[in-house]
């Protein structure tokens, strides 16, 4: 059972590894875009959103109006409404201000780690996962800017898989013996592929649409087949 802060740090350490090359490269790119070390690190420190930060750099480089950068950031992050709504069903009761603090640390990656835990998530555990991931992101942004160089090319290439390997490592154990999980992931992936290769939506929207589409579709199938919500709950509890 994962309950303590230090167990959270441990569970989040694969995120920290995955963030290392991404943050390092962000720091480096920020430098080449003309941001100072303080400006670059401040973005990681107060915004803390990988995809949006990269996007901001490319928009700054092309001289786009700041409010457009903000709009884009919001669109890219709309999917987090869905994730934190889902997470709210899984976290232990805690004072609102405490949840409002660790909510800052909910990224795609920390959401994935938290939501695939068995049973309820304690506040201490959530803080542990969020802290190590956030620490890695901010620290390696600064390092990337300071050293102004990247990892050796072969290592950089290899490490670009880290976050995806983590997502797979989180998904597969839940897939074993659970057809609903397999179906959810497969349909989510399929919808995203169609949207991506068909050039139908930008990434922020397409992840949102794929996720919601799959989650609703599968739920309807299961309810129609009389495998009610209750059945899912009972099965989940049996798994735990």
């Amino acid at each position: 059972m994962n309950t303590t802060f230090s167990q959270g740090l441990k569970a989040g350490s694969s995120i920290a590894i995955g963030y290392f090359p991404v943050a390092l490269t962000f720091g480096l790119l920020a430098k080449t875009t003309g941001l100072s070390m303080i400006e670059a690190t401040a973005m990681s420190l107060i915004v803390y959103a990988g995809a949006s930060q990269y996007m901001a750099l490319s928009l700054i480089a092309t001289g786009v109006a700041p409010w457009l950068v903000v709009m884009n950031t919001f669109i890219v992050n709309i999917r987090h409404f869905l994730m934190t709504a889902s997470l709210s069903e899984k976290v232990e009761p805690a004072p609102k201000w405490m949840k409002a603090i660790y909510a800052f640390g909910i990224t795609d990656e920390s959401f994935s780690v938290l939501s695939t835990q068995k049973g309820k998530i304690t506040t201490a555990f959530a803080f542990g996962v969020a802290s190590i991931a956030y620490g890695s992101w901010v620290f390696f942004t600064a390092v990337g800017h300071v050293i102004g160089a990247n990892l050796p090319q072969f290592l950089q290439n290899a490490m670009s898989v880290a976050l995806y390997a983590m997502f797979i490592g989180l998904l597969v154990p839940s897939m074993k013996g659970n057809r609903k999980v397999v179906l959810l992931a497969a349909i989510g992936a399929a919808i995203h592929c169609v949207l991506y290769y068909g050039n139908l939506l930008s990434t922020g929207w397409s992840i949102l649409v794929a996720t919601l589409g799959s989650a609703i579709f599968v739920e309807i199938i299961y309810v129609k087949n009389n495998k009610t919500v209750e059945h899912w709950t009972v099965q989940k509890e049996a798994d735990n």
């Binding site: 709504a85 797979i168 989180l170 999980v181």
Partner: protein, 100 residues
């Protein structure tokens, strides 16, 4: 960069924080209709599928690179390795692959 940059950061910070904070903080223990609650419980697995594909295939220009990475990660986690070892093992396999 000047003041405009810092205002932009503030705007980005709010645009990022609001979608993370509002649902987690304010859905707090509210009883949702069973169908909504069922859909929300499906989200983690649906989102993992959408986060992995097709992005993992395009981590490098060479699609084979992503395919090898994905297959390795699936295999390592299927045999029951902890997430951390799945990540390190997959990086190691791809590091060897890109050296040759």
């Amino acid at each position: 960069m000047g003041a405009a940059y810092w205002w932009m950061l503030l705007g980005m910070a709010i645009a990022t924080y609001v979608p993370r904070m509002i649902p987690l903080t304010f859905l707090d223990g509210k009883e949702l209709p069973p169908i909504v609650s069922g859909v929300l419980r499906n989200i983690p697995y649906a989102v993992l599928g959408a986060l992995i594909f097709p992005a993992v295939l395009h981590i490098q220009d060479n699609i084979l690179f992503g395919v090898i990475g994905a297959v390795t990660a699936f295999a390592l986690s299927f045999i029951g390795l902890d997430v951390m070892f799945v990540v390190i093992g997959t990086i190691a396999v791809l590091a060897v692959y890109s050296l040759f």
